[in-house]
């Protein structure tokens, strides 16, 4: 099935269960309840099956996206 993929937080109101995250050029609603907020627009999270599982650095996001053939 699917590997985890980095996403860039677009908008995530404090305390919300869902945040809007850009994933491979598409903005999707992602469940952020497994991580502690707040989430700052522009930061990167690792997404798997619709959940943000881990905060990651821009550098790590770039490496992962390069693997998938995408750009930051």
């Amino acid at each position: 099935m699917c590997l985890g993929i980095p996403g860039r937080v677009v908008d995530c109101p404090d305390g919300a269960a869902l945040g809007r995250v850009e994933v491979a050029g598409v903005v999707r609603d992602i469940n952020v309840t497994l991580l502690d907020g707040p989430f700052v627009p522009g930061e990167y999270v690792l997404i798997h099956s619709g959940f943000a599982l881990e905060r990651i650095s821009p550098e790590r996001a770039a490496d992962a996206l390069a693997f998938f053939g995408a750009d930051l």
């Binding site: 099935m1 699917c2 590997l3 497994l34 798997h48 959940f51």
Partner: protein, 221 residues
């Protein structure tokens, strides 16, 4: 066959190309192959099975069946790792969710993802208005090991709009399920294979989690 199994997680945005509808437009040919290659989890496994069995095309029907459901090809495709290139191995042993079961904050979501992401099997109870009520056994977690719980009823989606992915179903049919969608009608050998390879990898993940076997309990009669 690949589209039937890959469509649901693709539509949810979990893997594969961004345009889920494209997967259903043409289920053969060069464009479909290009779409299938974008499933970064499934495609390498299809290649492994094809290479190990001397099959030229990773999208050969028997190769695709081996990955999603299981069949005799898998027994020729194993490597040094005890896991086989079957979808259940990826879900249970490669993805992060089983490792999150011990984290109480994440247990519920992890179990839900594991159960929806694996290919489930269920028996059709009724069909109406594009929805199918099925009886199936959910994954359960007792704090030590994953297992299949008591049979319960779920409602799954059949087809997409005017696109019917499988022939009409009848009560009593066995079907495969992925992320709340009905993927296919299972033949008796396919049902046996899906149970077998799922059980094998459930046992494997339980060993890795420190538990024991995972397929005890009643079968759906």
């Amino acid at each position: 066959m690949f589209a039937r199994y890959a469509f649901a997680p693709n539509q949810l945005g979990y893997c594969g190309p961004a345009d889920a509808g494209a997967l259903l437009e043409g289920r053969t040919g060069t464009r479909f192959r290009a779409l299938a290659k974008q499933f970064e989890g499934a495609w390498p496994q299809l290649r492994v099975i094809a290479a190990a069995t001397g099959t030229a095309d990773p999208l050969d029907r028997e190769v695709v069946e081996a990955y999603w459901v299981g069949n005799r090809l898998l027994d020729r495709a194993g490597g040094a790792d005890p896991g086989l290139p079957h979808h259940s191995f990826q879900v249970f042993c490669h993805y992060p969710w089983a490792g999150l079961l011990h984290d109480e904050r994440r247990t519920e979501h992890a179990l839900q993802v594991l159960d929806q992401c694996r290919i489930r099997w269920g028996r059709v109870i009724s069909v109406a208005d594009g929805k199918v009520v099925v009886e199936s056994r959910p994954l359960v977690w007792d704090g030590v090991r994953l297992a299949l719980g008591l049979p319960g009823r779920d409602t799954a989606t059949l087809g997409l709009g005017n696109v019917e992915l499988i022939e009409p179903l009848r009560a009593g049919d066995w079907v495969s399920l992925h992320w709340g969608w009905v993927c296919d009608r299972l033949t008796p050998p396919q049902l046996v294979a899906l149970r077998h390879y799922s059980a094998y990898h459930l046992t494997l993940v339980n060993q890795r989690l420190g538990g024991r076997t995972g397929m005890s309990g009643p079968r759906i009669p």
